[in-house]
């Protein structure tokens, strides 16, 4: 070899099913037999702590979302209910067990939230958003977001995700995905039904309002109230 190798001897680091011992590492290698190390691939888009990348609406915050929700999403990418190509590629040949472990890992992380985005929408739009989020639109058969996603909008255990700390364009894109039939949850797919009732201006109003909502440093999904939800949801059976 033309180049000199700096061989670092790492003693007693158990790796890979305990079958072998890492004998030598090349210069500059930072390796540990941890789940965090396994998931550096995910960090490229979702951040080291699952905080998401704010500049891109397709790299959402996943930290602190309920494990059951995250598992279902990972399995959905694997099994064809969700379609984002890179996610499908990543989990295509994964196992239920591993996906559950990954989901649990991110559900426990609590990185700081980004500051709320100063509202750029008009007062009227924000008022409409607030009404939809807090009270729904009974005339259109739209339940409030807060009824399921919690009064703090941080989600509800075991499987309802938080809505704060997400890029408005991400939320908008998800509603659009349900409307176009490219995102699915387990039947009955309540969010598909709700999305089907939302107009374009309503969607914009909801996302604008959500973006302004305060987020506490340690915001976690609300406990399971066991109460009946406004609609039947296959991913949140009650």
């Amino acid at each position: 070899m033309p180049q000199s190798r700096r061989l670092l001897v790492v003693v007693g680091v158990p790796i890979f099913m305990g079958a072998t011992i890492l004998r030598a590492a090349d210069g500059g290698i930072e390796f540990s037999d941890t789940l965090e190390q396994r998931l550096i691939a995910c960090a490229a888009c979702h951040g080291k702590q699952g905080e998401g990348i704010r500049a891109n609406e397709y790299y959402p915050r996943i930290a602190g979302k309920p494990a059951d929700y995250l598992y279902r999403q990972l399995a959905s990418f694997r099994d064809g209910r969700r379609t984002y190509p890179l996610m499908v590629y990543f989990v295509r040949y994964s196992s239920d067990e591993y996906l559950r472990e990954i989901a649990t890992y991110y559900s426990k992380l609590q990185p700081p939230f980004p500051a709320p985005i100063p509202p750029s929408a008009t007062k009227e739009v924000l008022a409409r958003g607030e009404a939809l989020v807090r009270k729904g639109d009974p005339a259109k058969g739209i339940p409030s977001c807060a009824a399921c996603h919690g009064t703090t909008l941080a989600g509800m255990l075991p499987g309802i995700p938080g809505l704060v700390g997400l890029d408005p364009n991400y939320v908008s894109a998800q509603i659009g995905s349900w409307q176009r039939g490219v995102r699915h949850a387990d039947e009955p797919d309540c969010m598909a039904k709700i999305a089907g009732k939302l107009s374009g201006p309503d969607t914009s109003a909801i996302t604008a309002y959500l973006a302004t909502q305060p987020r506490a440093p340690s915001m976690v999904a609300a406990p399971d109230t066991k109460e009946k939800l406004p609609m039947a949801c296959g991913s949140e059976p009650r």
């Binding site: 090349d26 210069g27 691939a41």
Partner: protein, 438 residues
Amino acid sequence: MNSQSCKRNVVLLGVVLAAAMGTFGEFGLHNAGAQSTKATKAQSLPSSARNPAQTDGEYLARAGDCVACHTARGGEPFAGGLEMKTPFGTLYTPNITPDPETGIGKWSPDDFWKALHEGRSRDGSLLYPAFPYPSYTKITRADADAIYGYLWSLKPVRRRNTPHDMQFPYNQRNLLMGWRALYFEPGVYAPRADETPEWNRGAYLVKGLGHCDACHTSRNLLGATVKDKELAGGLIPLQDWYAPSLTSNREAGLGQWQISDVVALLRTGISNRGVVFGPMAQVVHDSLQYLTESDTQAMAVYLKSFAQSGMPDDPAQIRPTEGQSTASFESGAKIYDTHCKSCHGASGLGVPPMYPPLANNQAISMEFSVNPIRMVLFGGFPPATRGNPRPFGMPPFSPSLSDQAVADVVTYIRQSWGNRGKAVNAADVARYRTVPVD
């Protein structure tokens, strides 16, 4: 959604049928008749090369990776419906559960044998070679019957077959006769007397059930595998992956691999020499991880037996690996230091088997650069297998690196630590940035 390993065969369909157009006629008909007389000549493998578990139909169906093509994403296993897009139309794989109306519930063992061995459906129609009967013809009658028995033990799933949507003239199945006359030779694998039972078992699995040549052997213009290039590598156009040569040491050539490395790669998806991604990840996930160690060992012994050793490099490929001074190489070195070194090391040694070595890794430096470019762009996880249930992933760099930056770092990797690959440029990267990854 398309299953990865199925597509390679579909790609060939166009050329296959184009060939058929030219040769359809008496010759084709005559030969088709001749095939049926050979069809019943089943041979069995040496019994010493088998064990009872290996005669199990489920095991054999795994070895044949039937489930990969006969299952739609998220669908019932073996109930078919996988969409296989081709430039000539779309195929939909059939339901092979024992449902009498929509599956193979009315098929006899003879019907099933005819499909595997002759490439003919129950009604006598010719099957598209997307179904790899040129390989499956090598399967013994006993094994075919065992697979049939297994499929019959499955829960019948009622899912009517989706009609193929092939454009004219590709929807004319009889045109396949010409191609078959030229290139399809039915016949069960004949063990070679001068080789060991282990070698013969490996050959049977590689050439028959495993249908490895569907991807790893290049095809001629008529879509037939090239006999003297067996397992010498092939580009998979619709998937934009390259299935490396298993013979040339400039690619995945196994001449420098230990048998144990080959076995580890096939059974777990990772090894001290390389890691599987892309279509091969599917093959390991759905099929190879379930094979016994003795069977994967046999495959490795067979594959290694014809691997070349010390083959001289093609002069066109040789590039100096020291004193590189191109701007691209220099830029790539800096990018490597920032993004790659923490896992693959300053000298490209990696942390095998979790992070493969890049130094002396033919998959990096082989002539077709698509695989290393894709790896940098999209990263990925090896398959979760029984031997590697919690794989380590590689980050995608498509979100953060420009085409030029990816070209630079791939060039650096292909030309460092003794690797002698050609430089790649930004246009090469741009071409693959937009390929479907799912």
